[in-house]
Protein backbone atom coordinates (compact mmCIF):
# COMPACT_ATOMS: atom_id res chain seq x y z
CA UNK A 1 0.00 0.00 0.00
CA UNK A 2 1.26 3.41 -0.92
CA UNK A 3 1.86 5.91 1.81
CA UNK A 4 2.71 8.80 -0.46
CA UNK A 5 0.28 11.64 -0.08
CA UNK A 6 -0.69 14.30 -2.56
CA UNK A 7 0.70 17.78 -2.23
CA UNK A 8 -1.97 20.17 -1.09
CA UNK A 9 -1.65 23.86 -1.83
CA UNK A 10 -3.01 26.78 0.10
CA UNK A 11 -6.77 26.94 0.28
CA UNK A 12 -8.26 29.26 -2.26
CA UNK A 13 -9.79 32.36 -0.80
CA UNK A 14 -13.49 31.95 -1.38
CA UNK A 15 -16.47 33.74 0.12
CA UNK A 16 -18.41 31.92 2.81
CA UNK A 17 -21.56 31.78 0.75
CA UNK A 18 -20.09 29.87 -2.15
CA UNK A 19 -20.87 26.25 -2.98
CA UNK A 20 -18.29 23.58 -3.75
CA UNK A 21 -19.24 23.82 -7.41
CA UNK A 22 -18.74 27.59 -7.39
CA UNK A 23 -15.41 27.17 -5.62
CA UNK A 24 -14.33 24.59 -8.19
CA UNK A 25 -15.34 26.74 -11.14
CA UNK A 26 -13.58 29.79 -9.69
CA UNK A 27 -10.42 27.78 -9.05
CA UNK A 28 -10.52 26.15 -12.49
CA UNK A 29 -11.03 29.52 -14.16
CA UNK A 30 -8.06 30.89 -12.22
CA UNK A 31 -5.97 27.93 -13.37
CA UNK A 32 -6.99 28.55 -16.98
CA UNK A 33 -5.70 32.10 -16.59
CA UNK A 34 -2.31 31.16 -15.19
CA UNK A 35 -1.49 27.71 -16.62
CA UNK A 36 -1.58 27.19 -20.40
CA UNK A 37 -1.52 23.41 -19.85
CA UNK A 38 -4.93 23.42 -18.21
CA UNK A 39 -8.02 22.66 -20.30
CA UNK A 40 -11.56 22.16 -19.02
CA UNK A 41 -13.77 19.64 -20.81
CA UNK A 42 -17.50 19.79 -20.18
CA UNK A 43 -20.61 17.95 -21.27
CA UNK A 44 -23.15 20.78 -20.99
CA UNK A 45 -23.23 20.61 -17.16
CA UNK A 46 -21.96 23.90 -15.64
CA UNK A 47 -21.38 25.41 -19.10
CA UNK A 48 -23.71 28.28 -18.29
CA UNK A 49 -21.94 29.18 -15.06
CA UNK A 50 -20.81 32.79 -15.32
CA UNK A 51 -17.13 32.16 -14.65
CA UNK A 52 -16.93 29.27 -17.10
CA UNK A 53 -18.71 31.33 -19.73
CA UNK A 54 -16.22 34.13 -19.14
CA UNK A 55 -13.29 31.69 -19.22
CA UNK A 56 -14.62 30.16 -22.44
CA UNK A 57 -14.66 33.61 -24.04
CA UNK A 58 -11.09 34.27 -22.91
CA UNK A 59 -9.70 30.78 -23.60
CA UNK A 60 -11.87 29.31 -26.36
CA UNK A 61 -9.30 26.61 -27.14
CA UNK A 62 -9.15 25.44 -23.52
CA UNK A 63 -12.76 25.53 -22.34
CA UNK A 64 -14.36 22.79 -24.39
CA UNK A 65 -17.98 21.74 -24.29
CA UNK A 66 -18.60 18.51 -26.20
CA UNK A 67 -22.35 18.51 -25.61
CA UNK A 68 -24.17 15.76 -23.76
CA UNK A 69 -21.49 13.20 -24.58
CA UNK A 70 -19.82 12.09 -21.37
CA UNK A 71 -17.89 9.19 -22.89
CA UNK A 72 -16.41 11.58 -25.44
CA UNK A 73 -15.72 14.11 -22.71
CA UNK A 74 -13.60 11.63 -20.73
CA UNK A 75 -11.82 10.20 -23.78
CA UNK A 76 -11.13 13.69 -25.08
CA UNK A 77 -9.61 14.52 -21.71
CA UNK A 78 -7.30 11.53 -22.15
CA UNK A 79 -6.50 12.66 -25.68
CA UNK A 80 -5.65 16.14 -24.42
CA UNK A 81 -3.29 14.61 -21.88
CA UNK A 82 -1.60 12.62 -24.65
CA UNK A 83 -0.50 15.95 -26.12
CA UNK A 84 0.83 17.21 -22.79
CA UNK A 85 -2.19 19.17 -21.65
CA UNK A 86 -3.66 18.97 -18.13
CA UNK A 87 -7.37 18.18 -18.60
CA UNK A 88 -10.12 18.80 -16.07
CA UNK A 89 -13.32 16.98 -16.98
CA UNK A 90 -16.46 17.84 -15.05
CA UNK A 91 -20.03 16.64 -14.94
CA UNK A 92 -22.66 15.01 -12.80
CA UNK A 93 -21.16 12.06 -10.91
CA UNK A 94 -23.24 9.23 -12.42
CA UNK A 95 -22.49 10.41 -15.96
CA UNK A 96 -18.85 11.31 -15.40
CA UNK A 97 -17.93 8.17 -13.48
CA UNK A 98 -20.50 5.43 -14.07
CA UNK A 99 -21.46 6.07 -17.70
CA UNK A 100 -17.86 6.74 -18.71
CA UNK A 101 -16.25 4.13 -16.47
CA UNK A 102 -14.45 2.28 -19.26
CA UNK A 103 -13.19 5.56 -20.67
CA UNK A 104 -11.73 6.38 -17.25
CA UNK A 105 -10.17 2.93 -17.03
CA UNK A 106 -8.61 2.90 -20.49
CA UNK A 107 -8.02 6.48 -21.53
CA UNK A 108 -5.88 7.58 -18.58
CA UNK A 109 -4.02 4.80 -16.76
CA UNK A 110 -3.80 2.43 -19.71
CA UNK A 111 -2.52 5.26 -21.92
CA UNK A 112 0.02 6.24 -19.28
CA UNK A 113 -1.45 9.71 -18.79
CA UNK A 114 -3.29 11.53 -16.02
CA UNK A 115 -6.24 13.84 -15.67
CA UNK A 116 -8.51 15.55 -13.19
CA UNK A 117 -12.15 14.50 -12.93
CA UNK A 118 -14.49 16.66 -10.87
CA UNK A 119 -18.05 15.58 -10.17
CA UNK A 120 -21.11 17.15 -8.63
CA UNK A 121 -24.20 15.37 -7.40
CA UNK A 122 -22.54 12.99 -4.93
CA UNK A 123 -24.73 10.20 -3.52
CA UNK A 124 -28.09 11.99 -3.53
CA UNK A 125 -27.56 15.75 -3.58
CA UNK A 126 -30.37 16.18 -6.07
CA UNK A 127 -32.67 13.89 -4.15
CA UNK A 128 -35.71 15.20 -6.00
CA UNK A 129 -34.13 14.01 -9.24
CA UNK A 130 -34.12 10.43 -8.05
CA UNK A 131 -31.83 7.45 -8.54
CA UNK A 132 -30.69 8.33 -12.07
CA UNK A 133 -28.76 11.25 -10.60
CA UNK A 134 -27.32 9.40 -7.58
CA UNK A 135 -23.77 8.08 -7.58
CA UNK A 136 -23.03 6.39 -4.26
CA UNK A 137 -20.68 3.94 -6.01
CA UNK A 138 -18.24 6.39 -7.56
CA UNK A 139 -15.42 6.10 -5.03
CA UNK A 140 -15.73 2.30 -5.06
CA UNK A 141 -15.35 2.38 -8.84
CA UNK A 142 -12.12 4.37 -8.56
CA UNK A 143 -10.95 1.69 -6.12
CA UNK A 144 -11.05 -0.83 -8.97
CA UNK A 145 -8.37 1.13 -10.84
CA UNK A 146 -4.75 1.77 -9.91
CA UNK A 147 -3.26 5.05 -8.87
CA UNK A 148 -6.20 7.43 -8.46
CA UNK A 149 -6.13 10.15 -5.83
CA UNK A 150 -9.65 10.76 -4.50
CA UNK A 151 -10.64 13.97 -2.72
CA UNK A 152 -13.98 14.26 -0.93
CA UNK A 153 -14.11 17.87 0.25
CA UNK A 154 -16.38 18.66 3.16
CA UNK A 155 -16.53 22.40 2.59
CA UNK A 156 -16.19 24.80 -0.36
CA UNK A 157 -12.90 26.04 1.06
CA UNK A 158 -11.47 22.53 0.77
CA UNK A 159 -11.85 22.50 -3.02
CA UNK A 160 -9.44 25.01 -4.50
CA UNK A 161 -6.27 23.88 -2.76
CA UNK A 162 -6.40 20.25 -3.89
CA UNK A 163 -7.48 21.30 -7.38
CA UNK A 164 -4.59 23.71 -7.73
CA UNK A 165 -2.16 21.11 -6.36
CA UNK A 166 -3.51 18.51 -8.77
CA UNK A 167 -3.05 20.84 -11.73
CA UNK A 168 0.67 20.99 -11.01
CA UNK A 169 1.05 17.23 -11.36
CA UNK A 170 0.27 14.63 -14.01
CA UNK A 171 -1.57 12.49 -11.46
CA UNK A 172 -4.94 10.85 -11.87
CA UNK A 173 -7.20 12.80 -9.51
CA UNK A 174 -10.93 12.56 -8.76
CA UNK A 175 -12.75 15.24 -6.78
CA UNK A 176 -16.21 14.47 -5.46
CA UNK A 177 -18.10 17.69 -4.80
CA UNK A 178 -21.37 17.95 -2.94
CA UNK A 179 -24.00 20.52 -2.08
CA UNK A 180 -23.86 19.12 1.45
CA UNK A 181 -21.09 20.78 3.44
CA UNK A 182 -19.84 21.02 6.98
CA UNK A 183 -20.24 24.33 8.82
CA UNK A 184 -16.50 24.94 8.89
CA UNK A 185 -13.60 23.90 6.64
CA UNK A 186 -10.75 21.67 7.78
CA UNK A 187 -7.47 21.72 5.88
CA UNK A 188 -5.95 18.26 6.14
CA UNK A 189 -2.95 18.21 3.78
CA UNK A 190 -4.25 14.81 2.73
CA UNK A 191 -3.95 13.33 6.20
CA UNK A 192 -6.38 12.21 8.86
CA UNK A 193 -7.09 15.22 11.03
CA UNK A 194 -7.94 14.53 14.66
CA UNK A 195 -11.03 16.57 15.61
CA UNK A 196 -11.55 15.20 19.10
CA UNK A 197 -10.00 12.58 21.36
CA UNK A 198 -11.68 9.99 23.54
CA UNK A 199 -11.16 6.53 25.02
CA UNK A 200 -13.44 4.61 22.69
CA UNK A 201 -13.28 3.75 19.01
CA UNK A 202 -11.75 5.95 16.34
CA UNK A 203 -14.56 7.35 14.22
CA UNK A 204 -13.39 8.44 10.79
CA UNK A 205 -15.72 10.96 9.16
CA UNK A 206 -15.24 11.55 5.46
CA UNK A 207 -16.00 14.88 3.83
CA UNK A 208 -19.52 16.22 4.37
CA UNK A 209 -20.31 13.46 6.89
CA UNK A 210 -18.28 15.20 9.59
CA UNK A 211 -20.92 17.49 11.07
CA UNK A 212 -23.42 14.65 11.48
CA UNK A 213 -20.70 12.53 13.10
CA UNK A 214 -19.86 15.33 15.54
CA UNK A 215 -23.52 15.73 16.46
CA UNK A 216 -23.90 11.98 16.86
CA UNK A 217 -20.85 11.56 19.08
CA UNK A 218 -21.30 14.72 21.15
CA UNK A 219 -21.79 12.80 24.39
CA UNK A 220 -19.47 9.89 23.65
CA UNK A 221 -15.87 9.33 24.64
CA UNK A 222 -14.68 8.46 21.16
CA UNK A 223 -12.01 9.92 18.91
CA UNK A 224 -13.15 11.57 15.70
CA UNK A 225 -10.79 12.04 12.80
CA UNK A 226 -11.63 13.81 9.58
CA UNK A 227 -10.56 12.78 6.09
CA UNK A 228 -11.13 14.66 2.86
CA UNK A 229 -8.51 12.77 0.87
CA UNK A 230 -9.46 9.09 0.92
CA UNK A 231 -7.14 7.72 -1.78
CA UNK A 232 -4.41 7.27 -1.02
CA UNK A 233 -5.72 6.76 2.49
CA UNK A 234 -3.59 8.12 5.33
CA UNK A 235 -2.54 4.70 6.57
CA UNK A 236 0.14 6.04 8.89
CA UNK A 237 -2.34 8.39 10.52
CA UNK A 238 -4.89 5.62 10.87
CA UNK A 239 -2.36 3.32 12.54
CA UNK A 240 -1.32 6.09 14.92
CA UNK A 241 -4.88 7.03 15.89
CA UNK A 242 -6.57 3.60 16.04
CA UNK A 243 -5.29 2.81 19.56
CA UNK A 244 -8.07 0.42 20.43
CA UNK A 245 -8.19 -1.40 17.10
CA UNK A 246 -11.84 -0.34 16.88
CA UNK A 247 -12.66 1.82 13.90
CA UNK A 248 -15.92 3.31 12.69
CA UNK A 249 -15.92 4.48 9.09
CA UNK A 250 -18.56 7.01 8.17
CA UNK A 251 -18.46 7.59 4.43
CA UNK A 252 -21.04 9.62 2.49
CA UNK A 253 -20.91 7.08 -0.37
CA UNK A 254 -21.24 3.33 -0.71
CA UNK A 255 -21.08 1.62 2.67
CA UNK A 256 -17.87 -0.31 3.22
CA UNK A 257 -15.90 1.39 0.45
CA UNK A 258 -12.86 1.84 2.71
CA UNK A 259 -13.25 -1.27 4.87
CA UNK A 260 -10.53 -3.03 2.86
CA UNK A 261 -8.14 -0.15 3.41
CA UNK A 262 -8.69 -0.19 7.18
CA UNK A 263 -8.37 -3.97 7.37
CA UNK A 264 -5.08 -3.94 5.47
CA UNK A 265 -3.71 -1.03 7.50
CA UNK A 266 -4.39 -2.76 10.82
CA UNK A 267 -3.56 -6.29 9.73
CA UNK A 268 -0.98 -6.73 12.50
CA UNK A 269 -3.33 -6.01 15.40
CA UNK A 270 -6.72 -7.15 16.68
CA UNK A 271 -9.36 -4.98 15.07
CA UNK A 272 -13.04 -4.45 14.58
CA UNK A 273 -14.50 -2.14 11.96
CA UNK A 274 -17.99 -0.76 11.61
CA UNK A 275 -18.66 0.64 8.15
CA UNK A 276 -21.44 3.17 7.79
CA UNK A 277 -22.37 4.65 4.45
CA UNK A 278 -24.94 4.63 1.71
CA UNK A 279 -26.69 1.27 1.45
CA UNK A 280 -26.75 -0.86 -1.68
CA UNK A 281 -30.35 0.01 -2.34
CA UNK A 282 -32.42 1.78 -4.94
CA UNK A 283 -35.05 3.17 -2.62
CA UNK A 284 -37.23 4.59 -5.43
CA UNK A 285 -37.68 7.67 -3.27
CA UNK A 286 -37.26 11.42 -3.72
CA UNK A 287 -37.48 13.79 -0.72
CA UNK A 288 -34.48 15.73 0.61
CA UNK A 289 -30.84 14.72 1.14
CA UNK A 290 -31.61 14.71 4.86
CA UNK A 291 -34.39 12.21 4.20
CA UNK A 292 -31.90 9.98 2.38
CA UNK A 293 -29.40 10.36 5.21
CA UNK A 294 -32.09 9.05 7.54
CA UNK A 295 -33.10 6.19 5.24
CA UNK A 296 -29.47 5.11 4.92
CA UNK A 297 -28.65 5.57 8.61
CA UNK A 298 -26.38 8.58 8.09
CA UNK A 299 -28.40 11.09 10.12
CA UNK A 300 -27.12 12.06 13.60
CA UNK A 301 -29.65 9.93 15.49
CA UNK A 302 -28.94 6.76 13.50
CA UNK A 303 -25.20 7.36 13.63
CA UNK A 304 -25.33 7.85 17.38
CA UNK A 305 -27.22 4.63 17.89
CA UNK A 306 -24.97 2.55 15.65
CA UNK A 307 -21.72 3.97 17.00
CA UNK A 308 -22.85 3.56 20.62
CA UNK A 309 -23.86 -0.06 19.99
CA UNK A 310 -20.48 -0.75 18.39
CA UNK A 311 -18.54 0.93 21.19
CA UNK A 312 -20.26 -1.00 23.95
Amino acid sequence: MTTSLPRIGDPMRVPNTTTMRDAFIDAAADLLDIDPRVAVVLADISVGHERFAQAAAEHPDRVLNVGIREALMVSAAGGLALTGMRPIAHSYAPFLVERAYEQIKLDFEHQGVGGILVSVGASYDWSQGGYTHFSPGDVALFDTMPGWTVHVPGHPKEVGGPLRAAALTDDKVYMRLSTIANAAPHQTAGRLSLIKSGDGPLVIAVGPALDNVLLATAGMSVSVAYANTVRPFDVEGLRALAHTGEVVLVEPYLEGTSTRVVAEALLDRPQRTLAIGVKRADLHKYGTPADHDRWHGLDPASLSERIAAFAR
Binding site: P36, V41, V66, G67, A71, G79, G84, M85, P87, E102
Partner: protein, 230 residues
Amino acid sequence: MTVTSARFGYDDLRGLIKRVVDVKHAPEDSTLDVLWTLYDRVLDLSPETLDSPDRDRFYLSKGHSPGSFYAVLAAKGYIPDAWLDQAFTAGSRLGGHPDRLLVPGAEISSGSLGHGLPLAVGSALGLRAQGLLKPRLYVLLGDAELDEGTNHEAMAYAGATGLSGITAVVIDNGSASHGWPGGIASRFTAQGWTASEVDGRDHDAIEAALRGHDGNSPHAVVAFATSTHF
Protein backbone atom coordinates in the same frame (compact mmCIF):
# COMPACT_ATOMS: atom_id res chain seq x y z
CA MET B 1 9.05 14.17 -45.01
CA THR B 2 11.48 12.28 -42.83
CA VAL B 3 11.86 8.62 -43.60
CA THR B 4 14.35 6.37 -41.94
CA SER B 5 16.23 3.72 -43.82
CA ALA B 6 13.65 0.99 -44.10
CA ARG B 7 15.07 -2.41 -43.59
CA PHE B 8 12.12 -4.08 -45.23
CA GLY B 9 9.95 -3.15 -48.15
CA TYR B 10 6.33 -3.77 -49.01
CA ASP B 11 7.08 -7.18 -50.47
CA ASP B 12 8.51 -8.30 -47.14
CA LEU B 13 5.39 -7.44 -45.11
CA ARG B 14 3.50 -10.70 -45.49
CA GLY B 15 6.58 -12.60 -44.41
CA LEU B 16 6.84 -10.38 -41.35
CA ILE B 17 3.14 -10.86 -40.51
CA LYS B 18 3.57 -14.63 -40.64
CA ARG B 19 6.19 -14.30 -37.92
CA VAL B 20 3.59 -12.64 -35.68
CA VAL B 21 0.42 -14.60 -36.25
CA ASP B 22 -0.76 -18.06 -37.07
CA VAL B 23 -2.11 -17.09 -40.45
CA LYS B 24 -4.42 -20.08 -40.62
CA HIS B 25 -6.35 -18.65 -37.69
CA ALA B 26 -5.71 -14.94 -38.09
CA PRO B 27 -5.56 -14.07 -41.77
CA GLU B 28 -6.70 -10.49 -41.23
CA ASP B 29 -4.68 -8.16 -43.39
CA SER B 30 -7.30 -5.78 -44.69
CA THR B 31 -5.46 -2.93 -42.97
CA LEU B 32 -2.08 -3.73 -44.51
CA ASP B 33 -2.09 -1.48 -47.57
CA VAL B 34 -3.51 1.52 -45.76
CA LEU B 35 -0.94 1.09 -42.98
CA TRP B 36 1.90 0.77 -45.46
CA THR B 37 0.79 3.80 -47.45
CA LEU B 38 0.46 5.86 -44.26
CA TYR B 39 3.91 4.99 -42.96
CA ASP B 40 5.64 4.88 -46.37
CA ARG B 41 4.17 7.97 -47.99
CA VAL B 42 1.97 10.11 -45.76
CA LEU B 43 2.90 10.39 -42.09
CA ASP B 44 5.50 13.00 -41.21
CA LEU B 45 6.96 10.63 -38.67
CA SER B 46 10.01 8.49 -38.15
CA PRO B 47 11.52 6.47 -35.31
CA GLU B 48 13.70 9.51 -34.57
CA THR B 49 10.76 11.95 -34.30
CA LEU B 50 8.47 9.91 -32.05
CA ASP B 51 8.76 12.52 -29.29
CA SER B 52 8.50 15.56 -31.54
CA PRO B 53 5.46 17.71 -30.70
CA ASP B 54 5.20 18.56 -34.39
CA ARG B 55 4.95 14.96 -35.61
CA ASP B 56 1.93 13.51 -37.31
CA ARG B 57 0.11 10.99 -35.13
CA PHE B 58 -1.35 7.66 -36.10
CA TYR B 59 -3.94 6.20 -33.70
CA LEU B 60 -4.74 2.55 -34.38
CA SER B 61 -8.23 2.44 -32.91
CA LYS B 62 -9.07 -1.00 -34.25
CA GLY B 63 -6.46 -2.73 -32.14
CA HIS B 64 -7.54 -6.25 -33.06
CA SER B 65 -5.34 -8.35 -35.34
CA PRO B 66 -2.35 -6.03 -35.06
CA GLY B 67 -0.04 -8.27 -37.09
CA SER B 68 -0.03 -5.87 -40.02
CA PHE B 69 0.64 -2.93 -37.72
CA TYR B 70 3.56 -4.65 -36.02
CA ALA B 71 4.95 -5.73 -39.39
CA VAL B 72 4.87 -2.17 -40.71
CA LEU B 73 6.47 -0.83 -37.51
CA ALA B 74 9.25 -3.40 -37.88
CA ALA B 75 9.69 -2.69 -41.58
CA LYS B 76 10.05 1.02 -40.89
CA GLY B 77 12.47 0.59 -38.01
CA TYR B 78 10.24 1.53 -35.06
CA ILE B 79 10.67 -1.88 -33.46
CA PRO B 80 13.24 -4.64 -33.98
CA ASP B 81 11.88 -7.32 -36.27
CA ALA B 82 13.12 -9.91 -33.77
CA TRP B 83 10.25 -8.83 -31.51
CA LEU B 84 7.81 -10.30 -34.01
CA ASP B 85 8.97 -13.83 -33.31
CA GLN B 86 8.23 -13.50 -29.59
CA ALA B 87 4.79 -11.89 -29.91
CA PHE B 88 2.20 -12.82 -27.28
CA THR B 89 4.71 -14.62 -25.05
CA ALA B 90 5.37 -13.75 -21.42
CA GLY B 91 7.61 -10.72 -21.44
CA SER B 92 6.80 -9.80 -25.05
CA ARG B 93 6.14 -6.19 -25.90
CA LEU B 94 3.79 -7.25 -28.67
CA GLY B 95 0.39 -8.59 -27.67
CA GLY B 96 -3.01 -9.19 -29.11
CA HIS B 97 -3.71 -5.49 -28.77
CA PRO B 98 -1.01 -2.82 -28.92
CA ASP B 99 0.09 -1.15 -25.68
CA ARG B 100 1.62 2.28 -26.16
CA LEU B 101 3.74 1.85 -23.05
CA LEU B 102 5.37 -1.18 -24.65
CA VAL B 103 5.51 -0.49 -28.38
CA PRO B 104 7.49 2.45 -29.82
CA GLY B 105 5.30 3.93 -32.51
CA ALA B 106 2.02 2.88 -30.92
CA GLU B 107 0.56 6.30 -30.07
CA ILE B 108 -2.40 4.83 -28.20
CA SER B 109 -3.14 1.59 -26.40
CA SER B 110 -6.16 0.10 -28.09
CA GLY B 111 -8.20 -3.07 -28.17
CA SER B 112 -11.53 -1.99 -26.76
CA LEU B 113 -13.35 -0.64 -29.80
CA GLY B 114 -14.51 2.94 -29.99
CA HIS B 115 -11.73 4.72 -28.11
CA GLY B 116 -9.38 5.90 -30.87
CA LEU B 117 -11.54 8.55 -32.47
CA PRO B 118 -12.65 10.11 -29.16
CA LEU B 119 -9.02 10.15 -28.01
CA ALA B 120 -8.04 11.77 -31.31
CA VAL B 121 -10.67 14.46 -30.77
CA GLY B 122 -9.00 15.34 -27.48
CA SER B 123 -5.54 15.26 -29.01
CA ALA B 124 -6.63 17.49 -31.89
CA LEU B 125 -7.98 19.93 -29.32
CA GLY B 126 -4.74 19.68 -27.35
CA LEU B 127 -2.57 20.34 -30.39
CA ARG B 128 -4.72 23.30 -31.37
CA ALA B 129 -4.58 24.75 -27.86
CA GLN B 130 -0.78 24.61 -28.05
CA GLY B 131 -0.68 26.26 -31.45
CA LEU B 132 0.57 23.06 -33.08
CA LEU B 133 -1.34 23.38 -36.33
CA LYS B 134 0.95 21.34 -38.58
CA PRO B 135 0.54 17.84 -37.16
CA ARG B 136 -2.23 15.68 -38.56
CA LEU B 137 -4.01 12.95 -36.64
CA TYR B 138 -4.84 9.80 -38.56
CA VAL B 139 -7.18 7.31 -36.89
CA LEU B 140 -7.75 3.83 -38.27
CA LEU B 141 -11.09 2.16 -37.53
CA GLY B 142 -12.98 -0.84 -38.80
CA ASP B 143 -16.48 -0.81 -40.26
CA ALA B 144 -17.71 -3.06 -37.44
CA GLU B 145 -16.02 -0.83 -34.89
CA LEU B 146 -18.34 1.95 -36.01
CA ASP B 147 -21.12 0.04 -34.22
CA GLU B 148 -19.76 1.52 -31.00
CA GLY B 149 -21.70 4.68 -30.15
CA THR B 150 -18.66 6.55 -28.88
CA ASN B 151 -17.50 6.93 -32.49
CA HIS B 152 -20.70 8.76 -33.29
CA GLU B 153 -20.22 11.10 -30.34
CA ALA B 154 -16.79 11.94 -31.75
CA MET B 155 -17.98 12.22 -35.36
CA ALA B 156 -20.77 14.61 -34.44
CA TYR B 157 -18.60 16.82 -32.27
CA ALA B 158 -15.60 16.91 -34.61
CA GLY B 159 -17.82 17.74 -37.56
CA ALA B 160 -19.83 20.39 -35.75
CA THR B 161 -16.72 22.17 -34.48
CA GLY B 162 -14.61 21.75 -37.63
CA LEU B 163 -11.76 19.77 -36.06
CA SER B 164 -9.91 19.82 -39.36
CA GLY B 165 -6.73 18.15 -38.10
CA ILE B 166 -8.32 14.69 -37.98
CA THR B 167 -8.46 12.10 -40.74
CA ALA B 168 -10.46 8.99 -39.89
CA VAL B 169 -9.70 5.96 -42.03
CA VAL B 170 -12.37 3.29 -41.93
CA ILE B 171 -11.36 -0.07 -43.33
CA ASP B 172 -14.60 -1.51 -44.70
CA ASN B 173 -14.29 -5.25 -45.03
CA GLY B 174 -18.00 -5.74 -44.58
CA SER B 175 -17.78 -7.14 -41.09
CA ALA B 176 -20.43 -4.99 -39.37
CA SER B 177 -23.24 -7.34 -38.38
CA HIS B 178 -25.98 -5.04 -39.59
CA GLY B 179 -24.03 -3.20 -42.26
CA TRP B 180 -24.22 0.50 -43.02
CA PRO B 181 -27.08 1.06 -45.46
CA GLY B 182 -26.29 4.07 -47.59
CA GLY B 183 -22.59 3.66 -46.93
CA ILE B 184 -20.19 4.64 -44.18
CA ALA B 185 -19.02 7.83 -45.89
CA SER B 186 -22.53 9.30 -45.63
CA ARG B 187 -22.38 9.00 -41.83
CA PHE B 188 -19.41 11.32 -41.84
CA THR B 189 -20.57 13.79 -44.49
CA ALA B 190 -23.92 14.18 -42.75
CA GLN B 191 -21.95 15.39 -39.71
CA GLY B 192 -19.91 17.96 -41.62
CA TRP B 193 -16.89 15.89 -42.58
CA THR B 194 -15.47 15.53 -46.06
CA ALA B 195 -15.13 11.92 -47.17
CA SER B 196 -13.47 9.81 -49.86
CA GLU B 197 -14.10 6.22 -50.81
CA VAL B 198 -11.16 4.27 -52.09
CA ASP B 199 -9.91 0.83 -53.11
CA GLY B 200 -8.08 -0.29 -49.98
CA ARG B 201 -5.43 -2.09 -52.02
CA ASP B 202 -4.50 0.76 -54.40
CA HIS B 203 -1.61 2.67 -52.85
CA ASP B 204 -1.84 5.69 -55.14
CA ALA B 205 -5.57 6.01 -54.57
CA ILE B 206 -5.13 5.53 -50.82
CA GLU B 207 -2.43 8.20 -50.71
CA ALA B 208 -4.58 10.66 -52.64
CA ALA B 209 -7.52 10.03 -50.29
CA LEU B 210 -5.34 10.35 -47.19
CA ARG B 211 -4.22 13.75 -48.49
CA GLY B 212 -7.77 14.71 -49.43
CA HIS B 213 -8.60 16.97 -46.47
CA ASP B 214 -9.63 20.53 -47.26
CA GLY B 215 -8.23 22.24 -44.16
CA ASN B 216 -11.66 23.30 -42.90
CA SER B 217 -13.34 20.05 -41.94
CA PRO B 218 -12.28 16.70 -40.55
CA HIS B 219 -11.79 14.15 -43.29
CA ALA B 220 -12.85 10.53 -43.59
CA VAL B 221 -11.44 7.90 -45.90
CA VAL B 222 -13.44 4.72 -46.39
CA ALA B 223 -11.12 2.05 -47.76
CA PHE B 224 -12.76 -1.09 -49.10
CA ALA B 225 -10.60 -4.16 -48.56
CA THR B 226 -11.42 -7.77 -47.97
CA SER B 227 -9.06 -9.94 -45.95
CA THR B 228 -6.74 -12.16 -47.90
CA HIS B 229 -5.60 -15.59 -46.89
CA PHE B 230 -1.93 -15.97 -47.61
